[in-house]
C-alpha cells in the first residue's frame, strides 16, 4: 500500500515539539498538530530520530496524498522496536487551507498513550480516554464502537457527508485483537481508521441508522456479539440482528418450529404427536392368544381337498408350498397354516391372518384364561368377520374394517374388501376408535395408539380435525 508514488511537492516534515510527522508543503513550516514552528524538513532516508522504523513510516506516508489512510499500518513492517519509533501518521488535505494531521505513538505498554501529543491534542486525548475505557474488561460496549467512528470521521474525505456516527463498517475490536492484541488504545484507533475506505453508502444511511442503533443495543447486551463486530457488521447492513433474527427464523420456520414442549405450527404439533405415537408400541390389533391355546390347536395332514382344484397350496404366512402329507395347523375358522408360522402370529395377535377371527373363546372359563382354542362353533373373543364368512380375501384383497365396538369384538363389525371400497370414508374408524379408547378405557385404551411409522400422522390429522385446525395456507 505504500507503493503509490507520493505527491511531488510534498516533503516529509517532522515537528520536534510534539514529534509529529507529516508530509506536506515545506513552505508552511508549522506543525499542524501542536502549532509549533520547530519543524524540520526530513530528507529522504534520514530519520530525525535516527530510528529505522520511523524512516519506513515516513516512506509509507508518501501515499498520503492519494489516500490519507494508506500509511496507518506502520507495524506492517514489523513490530515496533523502540519507544519513539512507533509512529503512526495520518495527514490529509480537507480542502483549501485546511489540513488535518495525526501522528501518534505506541509505547510498549498495552495501554500506552500519546506521549507526544496527549497534552496538546484534545481529540487524541478524548480518543485515548475513550479507548482506554473500552479496554476495561466488562465495560458495556453499547455505543462505544460507534462513538469511535464518530471520532474518526474527521478523517473522512471532504466530499463525503457529514460525520456519520453509526458508520457500519468500522469494527475496531477484531482488528485490534487479530493483529495486535497486546497493544493499547492506539492500535484500536488506527485499526478503526484502516476500515474507513469502505465509505458509507448514502442511500443506506436511513436504514443503517436504525439498524446500527439496534445493533449497538444488542452488542451492549451481548459482549460476544460485540467482539465479533467485524463479522456481524456487514450482516447488519444486509438486514438483521443475529439473535432476534434467529429467534424469528426458528419460530417461523416450519421445519424447526418446536422448542422443547412448545410448538409454533401445526406441522410441528403433528410431528410431536407422531413421535408420541411412535413411542408407544401399542396397536389397535387384538392382543395375543394364549400360548397354551396356540399349542393346543389341532393339526391335520394336507390332503387333496385342502390343496384344492389346482393341486397346489401354500401357507399364506411363509408363502411356502405345502405338499401332500405335510402337517398343517388348523384354526377354529378352518384356515390352516404351518404350525410355526401361525404360532408366531397368534402369539402377537389373536386373529386369523385370513378372516381375522381369533382362536380364543369370547367367554373365558371362570378359572382364568382359556388354555385351549375355542371350538369352531364357539364365538371368538376377537372377531372381525369378513363379508362372506370363512372366505379368504386372498393376497390382493383389501380389508377395510368398520368397527363400532371398542376393539374387543363386542360390537358389530364389518369388513369390506375389494378396491372399490378404497375411497370409502375411514375417519369414522379413527374417531370411533379414539372415542372408544377414551370411553371404554381398559385394554383398548392403551391400544388406541396404533404403533408404527406414520400412524401417528394419521392420528395427528385426527387431532387437527377435531381441534378445528387444518388451514395450511400459511404454510404454502
Amino acid at each position: 500500500m505504500s507503493g503509490q508514488p507520493g505527491r511531488p511537492d510534498a516533503e516529509m516534515l517532522f515537528c520536534h515539539q510534539c514529534e509529529n510527522e507529516w508530509r506536506g508543503n515545506p513552505t508552511a513550516l508549522r506543525c499542524p498538530h501542536c502549532d509549533s514552528e520547530f519543524v524540520e524538513v526530513v530528507e529522504n532516508g534520514r530519520n530525525p530520530r535516527d530510528d529505522p522504523t520511523a524512516d519506513e513510516t515516513g516512506l509509507s506516508s508518501n501515499s498520503l496524498a492519494h489516500h490519507p489512510l494508506h500509511n496507518i499500518h506502520p507495524w506492517a513492517h514489523g513490530p515496533p522496536n523502540s519507544e519513539d519509533g512507533n509512529i503512526e501518521h495520518v495527514e490529509w488535505n480537507a480542502g483549501p487551507g485546511i489540513r488535518f494531521s495525526r501522528t501518534s505513538y505506541r509505547s510498549s505498554s498495552p495501554h500506552g498513550g500519546f506521549p507526544g501529543d496527549r497534552g496538546n491534542d484534545p481529540i487524541a486525548s478524548l480518543l485515548q480516554n475513550m479507548f482506554d475505557t473500552m479496554q476495561q474488561p466488562g465495560m458495556p460496549r453499547a455505543g462505544i464502537p460507534r462513538g469511535s467512528n464518530a471520532m474518526q470521521n474527521p478523517f473522512s474525505q471532504p466530499h463525503q457527508q457529514a460525520p456519520w456516527p453509526w458508520q457500519p463498517h468500522a469494527h475496531p475490536f477484531p482488528e485490534r485483537q487479530n493483529h495486535h492484541p497486546g497493544y493499547g488504545g492506539r492500535n484500536t484507533y488506527t485499526s478503526t481508521t484502516r476500515l474507513w475506505p469502505s465509505p458509507p453508502s448514502s442511500t443506506n444511511h436511513g436504514n443503517n441508522h436504525l439498524q446500527d442503533l439496534l445493533q449497538a443495543l444488542f452488542q451492549g447486551m451481548d459482549h460476544t456479539t460485540g467482539s465479533n463486530g467485524a463479522e456481524a457488521g456487514p450482516h447488519v447492513g444486509s438486514g438483521g440482528f443475529p439473535g432476534l433474527h434467529q429467534f424469528f427464523a426458528s419460530v417461523l420456520n416450519p421445519a424447526n418450529a418446536a422448542h422443547g414442549d412448545v410448538v409454533y405450527s401445526q406441522e410441528a404439533l403433528d410431528r410431536i404427536i407422531s413421535q408420541f405415537m411412535e413411542q408407544h408400541n401399542g396397536s389397535s390389533a387384538p392382543g395375543p392368544a394364549s400360548p397354551a391355546a396356540i399349542s393346543a390347536l389341532p393339526t391335520k395332514k394336507v390332503d387333496e381337498e385342502l390343496l384344492g382344484s389346482d393341486g397346489k397350496a401354500e401357507c399364506s404366512v411363509c408363502m411356502d408350498n405345502v405338499e401332500l402329507g405335510d402337517e398343517v395347523t388348523l384354526l377354529p375358522c378352518q384356515h390352516w397354516f404351518h404350525g410355526d408360522c401361525i404360532g408366531a402370529w397368534l402369539k402377537e395377535h389373536d386373529t386369523c391372518p385370513h378372516c381375522r377371527q381369533g382362536i380364543m373363546p369370547k367367554d373365558p372359563p371362570s378359572n382364568g384364561e382359556a388354555t385351549s382354542p375355542r371350538a369352531p362353533g364357539q364365538e371368538p373373543r376377537n372377531s372381525l368377520p369378513p363379508l362372506s364368512p370363512g372366505a379368504d380375501p386372498g393376497p390382493g384383497g383389501f380389508h377395510f374394517r368398520y368397527q363400532s365396538g371398542n376393539g374387543h369384538g363386542a360390537g358389530p363389525t364389518t369388513t369390506f374388501r375389494s378396491q372399490q371400497d378404497l375411497p370409502i370414508p375411514r375417519p369414522r374408524t379413527e374417531r370411533r376408535r379414539s372415542s372408544a379408547s377414551r370411553s371404554s378405557g381398559g385394554r383398548n385404551g392403551g391400544e388406541g395408539s396404533s404403533g408404527g411409522g406414520g400412524i401417528g400422522g394419521a392420528i395427528g390429522g385426527w387431532v387437527r380435525n377435531h381441534l378445528g385446525g387444518g388451514d395450511r395456507s400459511s404454510g404454502r
Partner: protein
C-alpha cells in the same frame, strides 16, 4: 422369513405392479426396497417419476412394511414432513395381516395415487382441498409433480 421376502421380491421382478419397478436399495439388503412409480395416467401425478422406499421390518410379515415417499408428492395421505410417510388402510400395524403381500401393498399405494382417501388423511388441508376444491388440488399436485418428480 427371508425366504418369503425373496419370493415376493422375485415375483415382483417378473410381474411388477402396473407403473412400478421394484429394486433393492442396496444389493445385499433384502429388507429395503426402492420402488419407482410412474405417475398413473389421468392423475395429477402423471408424467412424474416417484421414488418410494419400502422397508420391511424384521418381523415381516407379522408387521407391515413401512412406506416412505422419497419424492415429494402432494397427496392427502402422504405426510409432508420430509419423511413422506404413508400409513393407512391395511398398511397399519393394527390392520396388517401376515397373509397380506407386498404386491398388494404396492398396488394399494398405486391405487391411492389414483384415488386418495381424504377422510383418512395425514394432511387435512390437502384432504379438504381434495374434497372441496378438486381443481385446485389437481393444479397444486401437478405443480409438485413437475417440480419434484422429474423423470
Amino acid at each position: 422369513m427371508t425366504k418369503r421376502i425373496t419370493k415376493e421380491f422375485a415375483d415382483l421382478q417378473t410381474e411388477p405392479p402396473e407403473d412400478m419397478k421394484v429394486d433393492l436399495i442396496t444389493e445385499n439388503d433384502l429388507f429395503k426396497w426402492v420402488v419407482t412409480i410412474n405417475g398413473p395416467k389421468d392423475t395429477p401425478y402423471a408424467g412424474g417419476l416417484f421414488l418410494v422406499h419400502v422397508i420391511l421390518p424384521n418381523e415381516y410379515p407379522f408387521k407391515p412394511p413401512v412406506i416412505n415417499w422419497k419424492t415429494k408428492i402432494y397427496h392427502p395421505n402422504v405426510t409432508n414432513d420430509g419423511k413422506g410417510t404413508m400409513c393407512l388402510g391395511f398398511l397399519r400395524d393394527g390392520e396388517w395381516k401376515p397373509s397380506s403381500r407386498m404386491a398388494a401393498a404396492l398396488e394399494y399405494v398405486r391405487q391411492l395415487m389414483i384415488e386418495p382417501v381424504p377422510d383418512d388423511a395425514v394432511d387435512p388441508a390437502i384432504a379438504e382441498e381434495y374434497k372441496n376444491n378438486r381443481k385446485q388440488f389437481f393444479k397444486t399436485a401437478k405443480q409438485w409433480t413437475t417440480t419434484y418428480a422429474k423423470p
